[in-house]
Symmetry: C2
Subunit: 124 residues, 2 copies
Protein backbone atom coordinates (compact mmCIF):
# COMPACT_ATOMS: atom_id res chain seq x y z
CA UNK A 1 0.00 0.00 0.00
CA UNK A 2 1.53 3.26 -1.19
CA UNK A 3 0.99 6.52 0.66
CA UNK A 4 -1.86 8.81 -0.36
CA UNK A 5 -5.54 8.45 -1.14
CA UNK A 6 -7.20 6.68 -4.04
CA UNK A 7 -9.45 8.73 -6.31
CA UNK A 8 -12.51 7.42 -4.46
CA UNK A 9 -11.10 8.35 -1.05
CA UNK A 10 -10.03 11.80 -2.22
CA UNK A 11 -13.45 12.33 -3.80
CA UNK A 12 -15.18 11.46 -0.52
CA UNK A 13 -12.85 13.81 1.36
CA UNK A 14 -13.43 16.87 -0.82
CA UNK A 15 -17.09 16.19 -1.57
CA UNK A 16 -16.84 15.63 -5.31
CA UNK A 17 -17.31 12.42 -7.32
CA UNK A 18 -14.40 10.30 -8.54
CA UNK A 19 -15.60 10.99 -12.08
CA UNK A 20 -15.38 14.72 -11.42
CA UNK A 21 -11.85 14.43 -9.99
CA UNK A 22 -10.65 12.68 -13.15
CA UNK A 23 -12.46 15.23 -15.25
CA UNK A 24 -10.79 18.10 -13.32
CA UNK A 25 -7.42 16.54 -14.12
CA UNK A 26 -8.31 16.13 -17.77
CA UNK A 27 -9.49 19.76 -17.93
CA UNK A 28 -6.22 21.01 -16.50
CA UNK A 29 -7.61 22.19 -13.16
CA UNK A 30 -5.32 19.77 -11.37
CA UNK A 31 -1.81 18.70 -12.33
CA UNK A 32 -1.62 15.04 -13.33
CA UNK A 33 -1.54 13.44 -9.91
CA UNK A 34 1.00 10.75 -8.96
CA UNK A 35 0.31 7.09 -9.75
CA UNK A 36 1.07 3.87 -7.92
CA UNK A 37 2.72 0.82 -9.52
CA UNK A 38 -0.56 -0.15 -11.17
CA UNK A 39 -1.21 3.29 -12.71
CA UNK A 40 -3.81 4.26 -10.11
CA UNK A 41 -4.03 7.85 -8.88
CA UNK A 42 -2.59 8.61 -5.46
CA UNK A 43 -3.70 11.89 -3.90
CA UNK A 44 -1.21 13.31 -1.41
CA UNK A 45 -2.15 15.99 1.10
CA UNK A 46 -1.02 18.77 -1.22
CA UNK A 47 -3.29 17.45 -3.96
CA UNK A 48 -6.20 17.34 -1.54
CA UNK A 49 -5.48 20.90 -0.36
CA UNK A 50 -5.49 22.07 -3.96
CA UNK A 51 -8.83 20.34 -4.57
CA UNK A 52 -10.31 21.95 -1.48
CA UNK A 53 -9.20 25.35 -2.69
CA UNK A 54 -10.77 24.65 -6.09
CA UNK A 55 -14.06 23.64 -4.49
CA UNK A 56 -14.11 26.92 -2.58
CA UNK A 57 -13.56 28.82 -5.80
CA UNK A 58 -16.34 26.82 -7.45
CA UNK A 59 -18.86 27.29 -4.66
CA UNK A 60 -18.18 31.02 -4.73
CA UNK A 61 -19.10 31.00 -8.40
CA UNK A 62 -15.77 30.89 -10.24
CA UNK A 63 -16.15 29.24 -13.64
CA UNK A 64 -14.15 26.20 -14.63
CA UNK A 65 -12.54 28.37 -17.29
CA UNK A 66 -11.20 30.81 -14.70
CA UNK A 67 -10.11 28.00 -12.41
CA UNK A 68 -8.10 26.62 -15.33
CA UNK A 69 -6.47 30.02 -15.87
CA UNK A 70 -5.54 30.07 -12.21
CA UNK A 71 -4.17 26.52 -12.33
CA UNK A 72 -2.04 27.47 -15.34
CA UNK A 73 -0.59 30.44 -13.45
CA UNK A 74 0.23 28.21 -10.51
CA UNK A 75 1.98 25.72 -12.80
CA UNK A 76 4.09 28.48 -14.36
CA UNK A 77 5.86 29.01 -11.03
CA UNK A 78 6.43 31.59 -8.31
CA UNK A 79 6.81 34.57 -10.65
CA UNK A 80 3.05 34.49 -11.28
CA UNK A 81 2.20 35.13 -7.63
CA UNK A 82 1.23 38.77 -8.20
CA UNK A 83 -1.10 37.81 -11.01
CA UNK A 84 -2.64 35.10 -8.88
CA UNK A 85 -3.23 37.56 -6.06
CA UNK A 86 -4.93 39.97 -8.48
CA UNK A 87 -7.10 37.18 -9.80
CA UNK A 88 -8.19 36.36 -6.26
CA UNK A 89 -8.85 39.98 -5.39
CA UNK A 90 -11.03 40.40 -8.45
CA UNK A 91 -12.85 37.24 -7.54
CA UNK A 92 -13.30 38.47 -3.99
CA UNK A 93 -14.83 41.71 -5.28
CA UNK A 94 -17.27 39.73 -7.41
CA UNK A 95 -18.27 37.59 -4.45
CA UNK A 96 -18.86 40.66 -2.26
CA UNK A 97 -21.00 42.16 -4.99
CA UNK A 98 -22.91 38.91 -5.28
CA UNK A 99 -23.55 38.94 -1.52
CA UNK A 100 -24.81 42.52 -1.74
CA UNK A 101 -27.15 41.57 -4.59
CA UNK A 102 -28.49 38.66 -2.57
CA UNK A 103 -29.21 40.96 0.37
CA UNK A 104 -30.96 43.44 -1.91
CA UNK A 105 -33.14 40.75 -3.48
CA UNK A 106 -33.93 39.32 -0.05
CA UNK A 107 -35.46 42.68 0.83
CA UNK A 108 -38.02 42.25 -1.94
CA UNK A 109 -38.71 38.68 -0.85
CA UNK A 110 -39.26 39.84 2.73
CA UNK A 111 -41.74 42.44 1.53
CA UNK A 112 -43.59 39.72 -0.33
CA UNK A 113 -43.65 37.49 2.77
CA UNK A 114 -45.11 40.36 4.75
CA UNK A 115 -47.82 40.91 2.14
CA UNK A 116 -48.74 37.23 2.23
CA UNK A 117 -48.85 37.31 6.03
CA UNK A 118 -51.30 40.21 5.92
CA UNK A 119 -53.46 38.43 3.35
CA UNK A 120 -53.58 35.34 5.57
CA UNK A 121 -54.62 37.54 8.48
CA UNK A 122 -57.46 39.15 6.56
CA UNK A 123 -58.76 35.81 5.33
CA UNK A 124 -59.51 34.67 8.90
Amino acid sequence: MDRGLTVGEAAAKVGLSAHTLRWYEQEGLVEPVGRDGAGRRRYESGDVDWLMLLTRLRTTGMSVRDMRRYAELARRGPHTVTERRRLFEEHKARVLERIADLHRDLEAINVKIEIYRRMEHEQQ
Copy 2:
Protein backbone atom coordinates in the same frame (compact mmCIF):
# COMPACT_ATOMS: atom_id res chain seq x y z
CA MET B 1 -51.37 52.14 -30.10
CA ASP B 2 -52.79 49.94 -27.33
CA ARG B 3 -51.73 50.38 -23.73
CA GLY B 4 -48.83 48.33 -22.40
CA LEU B 5 -45.34 47.43 -23.52
CA THR B 6 -44.25 45.23 -26.42
CA VAL B 7 -42.17 42.19 -25.63
CA GLY B 8 -39.02 44.08 -26.59
CA GLU B 9 -39.85 47.00 -24.33
CA ALA B 10 -40.77 44.76 -21.43
CA ALA B 11 -37.55 42.77 -21.95
CA ALA B 12 -35.49 45.97 -21.83
CA LYS B 13 -37.29 47.05 -18.68
CA VAL B 14 -36.75 43.84 -16.70
CA GLY B 15 -33.31 43.03 -18.09
CA LEU B 16 -34.14 39.83 -19.93
CA SER B 17 -34.24 39.12 -23.66
CA ALA B 18 -37.48 39.08 -25.66
CA HIS B 19 -36.70 35.44 -26.47
CA THR B 20 -36.51 34.66 -22.76
CA LEU B 21 -39.81 36.41 -22.01
CA ARG B 22 -41.59 34.30 -24.61
CA TRP B 23 -39.86 31.24 -23.25
CA TYR B 24 -40.99 32.08 -19.68
CA GLU B 25 -44.55 32.25 -20.95
CA GLN B 26 -44.23 28.94 -22.75
CA GLU B 27 -42.75 27.34 -19.63
CA GLY B 28 -45.67 28.51 -17.51
CA LEU B 29 -43.70 31.01 -15.40
CA VAL B 30 -45.95 33.79 -16.67
CA GLU B 31 -49.64 33.64 -17.53
CA PRO B 32 -50.30 34.10 -21.25
CA VAL B 33 -50.05 37.85 -21.51
CA GLY B 34 -52.67 39.98 -23.31
CA ARG B 35 -52.43 40.53 -27.07
CA ASP B 36 -53.21 43.51 -29.28
CA GLY B 37 -55.28 43.33 -32.47
CA ALA B 38 -52.36 41.86 -34.42
CA GLY B 39 -51.66 39.12 -31.86
CA ARG B 40 -48.65 40.89 -30.37
CA ARG B 41 -47.96 40.64 -26.64
CA ARG B 42 -48.85 43.65 -24.50
CA TYR B 43 -47.24 43.78 -21.06
CA GLU B 44 -49.23 45.78 -18.50
CA SER B 45 -47.68 47.00 -15.29
CA GLY B 46 -48.88 43.93 -13.37
CA ASP B 47 -47.12 41.67 -15.89
CA VAL B 48 -43.94 43.68 -15.53
CA ASP B 49 -44.14 43.51 -11.72
CA TRP B 50 -44.51 39.75 -11.93
CA LEU B 51 -41.48 39.51 -14.21
CA MET B 52 -39.43 41.62 -11.84
CA LEU B 53 -40.36 39.35 -8.96
CA LEU B 54 -39.37 36.34 -11.06
CA THR B 55 -35.99 37.85 -11.87
CA ARG B 56 -35.36 38.39 -8.17
CA LEU B 57 -36.18 34.77 -7.48
CA ARG B 58 -33.85 33.72 -10.32
CA THR B 59 -30.93 35.87 -9.25
CA THR B 60 -31.25 34.49 -5.73
CA GLY B 61 -30.87 31.02 -7.19
CA MET B 62 -34.41 29.68 -7.48
CA SER B 63 -34.69 27.12 -10.28
CA VAL B 64 -37.11 27.53 -13.15
CA ARG B 65 -38.84 24.41 -11.89
CA ASP B 66 -39.56 26.02 -8.50
CA MET B 67 -40.59 29.29 -10.12
CA ARG B 68 -43.11 27.31 -12.15
CA ARG B 69 -44.47 25.70 -8.98
CA TYR B 70 -44.86 29.17 -7.48
CA ALA B 71 -46.59 30.50 -10.61
CA GLU B 72 -49.02 27.58 -10.50
CA LEU B 73 -49.89 28.36 -6.88
CA ALA B 74 -50.49 31.99 -7.77
CA ARG B 75 -52.77 30.95 -10.64
CA ARG B 76 -54.81 28.70 -8.34
CA GLY B 77 -56.03 31.73 -6.41
CA PRO B 78 -55.95 33.36 -2.97
CA HIS B 79 -56.37 30.13 -0.99
CA THR B 80 -52.74 29.23 -1.83
CA VAL B 81 -51.34 32.28 -0.06
CA THR B 82 -50.11 30.32 2.97
CA GLU B 83 -48.33 27.84 0.74
CA ARG B 84 -46.76 30.66 -1.23
CA ARG B 85 -45.55 32.31 1.97
CA ARG B 86 -43.99 29.01 3.10
CA LEU B 87 -42.31 28.62 -0.27
CA PHE B 88 -40.81 32.08 0.09
CA GLU B 89 -39.68 31.48 3.66
CA GLU B 90 -37.93 28.27 2.64
CA HIS B 91 -36.30 30.12 -0.22
CA LYS B 92 -35.23 32.91 2.11
CA ALA B 93 -33.60 30.36 4.44
CA ARG B 94 -31.67 28.88 1.52
CA VAL B 95 -30.49 32.31 0.44
CA LEU B 96 -29.31 33.15 3.96
CA GLU B 97 -27.42 29.86 4.09
CA ARG B 98 -25.89 30.62 0.71
CA ILE B 99 -24.74 34.02 1.96
CA ALA B 100 -23.19 32.39 5.02
CA ASP B 101 -21.37 29.86 2.81
CA LEU B 102 -20.04 32.67 0.65
CA HIS B 103 -18.70 34.48 3.71
CA ARG B 104 -17.05 31.28 4.95
CA ASP B 105 -15.39 30.62 1.60
CA LEU B 106 -14.27 34.25 1.37
CA GLU B 107 -12.31 33.68 4.58
CA ALA B 108 -10.23 31.01 2.83
CA ILE B 109 -9.75 33.26 -0.17
CA ASN B 110 -8.58 36.10 2.07
CA VAL B 111 -6.06 33.78 3.71
CA LYS B 112 -4.75 32.90 0.26
CA ILE B 113 -4.48 36.56 -0.72
CA GLU B 114 -2.48 37.22 2.44
CA ILE B 115 -0.15 34.33 1.64
CA TYR B 116 0.44 35.68 -1.87
CA ARG B 117 1.08 39.14 -0.47
CA ARG B 118 3.76 37.73 1.83
CA MET B 119 5.34 35.80 -1.05
CA GLU B 120 5.47 38.98 -3.13
CA HIS B 121 7.12 40.75 -0.22
CA GLU B 122 9.79 38.09 0.18
CA GLN B 123 10.59 38.07 -3.52
CA GLN B 124 11.69 41.72 -3.41
